[in-house]
């Protein structure tokens, strides 16, 4: 194979020469299907291909045909299990469709997503998928929208996982509804004094989850003290730090802490443990996402399960289906999963004014289950 004297890669012309056929014929054999080629000539071409170790140059093919097989994926942080799970779903579907997935981590700066879309436009990528919460930086968002617009206008497909703010196909995790259901479930367990570890101030996902949680409490007429909503990085250390602030605020401690992501919840758990506060004995703790890798932390974490792989799969499918040029939105509900980190609060400890919601009976809550004992 690859017997060209100059050590260079064999070209289709080499194949054609060696087989004694024209370039056109060689091409037709290699892309078999486009048009028929006589058996004997085809055999000669295949022989030449094998002998030269020829592989078609996909870049050149893409230039010639004007269509690419690349799909670009930008996510905030590939090492975060939330994103890597979504990426896994995306890759699976894309691989099945014989597409090439290009990936970047946009941790760096706000503009990274826009730059990546521009790069994908230059690469003539078939599609681009943006994964992760939007921020409330509207200027950056406008720039991103413009870039996505240019991308789609030149024939590319675009989708995002997160908020529906970019004018493209969107997979929409129901952060607000999930957090609301969680709040109701926690209130139903008897918890009354809550704190929220809310993620970065500018990130919409954190805002949605916080607001949804507040709404859920409101249904039970349980207030959420704004002073007990502390912001922090959406990471283990962010959760640790935010929990520290709650502890530093002094007595009385909340009954229950809601961290807007499991990762933060784990950081909070570590902080509580180091302070000698027992979970769930002294304080209940809940997260969001149901990160698979964290299903075995102790105590098992109450959370809102999102089908992360599916988010990626859906996004990939949206972007690969060639129908429906107009932006579609696919909401994906979360499911409250009650585990041991939020045991029912013993009635003795409850405050007198606790009462179930009047307007909306608890029966409207999404089903809550306790998997894995």
């Amino acid at each position: 194979m690859d017997v060209r004297p100059d050590g260079q890669r064999a070209t289709l012309q080499d194949v054609a020469d060696r087989a004694g056929v024209s370039l056109a014929t060689a091409s037709r054999v290699v892309n078999d299907g486009s048009r028929k080629v006589g058996k004997d000539l085809a055999d000669r071409v295949n022989k030449a291909v094998a002998e030269l170790g020829y592989t078609a140059n996909l870049q050149a093919r893409a230039v010639a045909t004007g269509q690419s097989t690349m799909i670009g994926v930008a996510l905030r942080d590939i090492s975060d299990p939330y994103f890597s799970s979504i990426a896994a779903g995306l890759i699976e579907v894309a691989d099945a469709g014989k597409l090439l997935v290009c990936m970047t981590s946009t941790v760096a700066h706000e503009d990274a997503e826009r730059e990546y879309v521009a790069l994908m436009r230059a690469q003539r990528a078939r599609a681009v998928v943006l994964v992760g919460s939007r921020s409330d930086n509207t200027a950056a968002r406008a720039a991103l929208r413009a870039e996505l617009d240019a991308f789609t206008r030149s024939g590319g497909r675009a989708a995002c996982v997160g908020q529906n703010l970019l004018g493209v196909d969107t997979v929409l995790p129901e952060n607000r509804a999930g957090a609301e259901a969680l709040a109701r479930a926690l209130a139903a367990l008897g918890h009354r004094r809550f704190a929220v570890l809310a993620g970065p101030r500018s990130l919409l996902t954190g805002q949605e989850r916080t607001n949804g949680f507040r709404d859920g409490l409101r249904a039970w007429s349980v207030p959420l003290d704004p002073a007990r909503v502390v912001h922090g990085d959406l990471s283990r250390d962010g959760g640790y730090q935010a929990m520290s602030e709650i502890l530093a605020a002094g007595e009385p401690l909340p009954d229950c802490v809601f961290a807007v992501s499991d990762i933060m919840a784990v950081g909070a758990l570590a902080r509580l443990r180091s302070a000698g506060v027992d979970v769930p004995g002294d304080i209940a703790l809940a997260g969001f996402d149901d990160i698979p890798t964290l299903r075995d932390v102790y105590p098992p974490l109450t959370t809102v399960r999102l089908p992360l792989r599916r988010l990626g799969e859906i996004a990939a499918r949206l972007v690969l289906s060639d129908d429906a040029p107009q932006p579609r939105v696919v909401p994906v509900p979360g499911e409250v999963v009650l585990r041991d980190s939020t045991r029912p609060r013993p009635p003795a400890a409850r405050e007198p004014e606790a009462r179930p919601p009047a307007t909306q009976p608890p029966a409207t809550q999404p089903p809550a289950r306790r998997p894995r004992g």
Copy 2:
């Protein structure tokens, strides 16, 4: 922008036409640097570029120049934090070098890696990185080597993270030495009866870690009962399952269980917990990798820390440096991290024949530290 009547993407010829210059001049302006162009003409070209929203077709450029900016990465399972951490390191370095990272998950079948390398060859990728343990399927390995050979022979660079068996640049996590050091440390803590959750039978990383562990024990003249080495999938469920087998084998339980990966260890921990076996009270448990996401499991897991991000960074740098065409090997040591999951075994419980190694004093062990209190 993009004002071409047919809605198609603007081409460099369009730019040249609109600016009233030749294609060559337009090209020179766009790739500024190759050759000087008069100020006025350059301005006209830039104006046309802006008006048309022109973006160079990178595929065509790659065909013309014969060099690509793509680097392919194949890893077993992107949703596994071990791999996603490595991927993060890779992406960071590649992004800094303005390279496009294409990624795939090769969970599916043994041949997936080979196919991906072939695909990268077809794409004329600049480099390819294979991340993950080799298996002992030598036939598949030979095929993979042949494909890598074809890839490098046609000018691509290749590297792998794992075993040095592919004849390409290799980042070599010191599985054996790490496991050996871990075994010594555990023996020094007083443990004598060990079990190993060894991962899939065919995966070399699991084999190396198991063998290294056995060696370490041998230094303390502690035997490892082959019946207590059970194989299982390199996953949470695999660890759970394997631990079940150990428990099913009946009394006496081992003092200490070594799972060849943290993920398996967590599964084992869940199994022990559900059986009412206390860790570390009744049994000690250790893992390998020191997955960041699992640093906060309870009890904190003794493990061998690998600098996962760095593995990816090193691999990326190997593949991007243009010197040294011959395959290089970069060994990366692990560091034993003793945490609470393996408390010292109380002397009362120790068996009489316990004794420190005669030939190699424990002082030769790598430094063991307990971070995070």
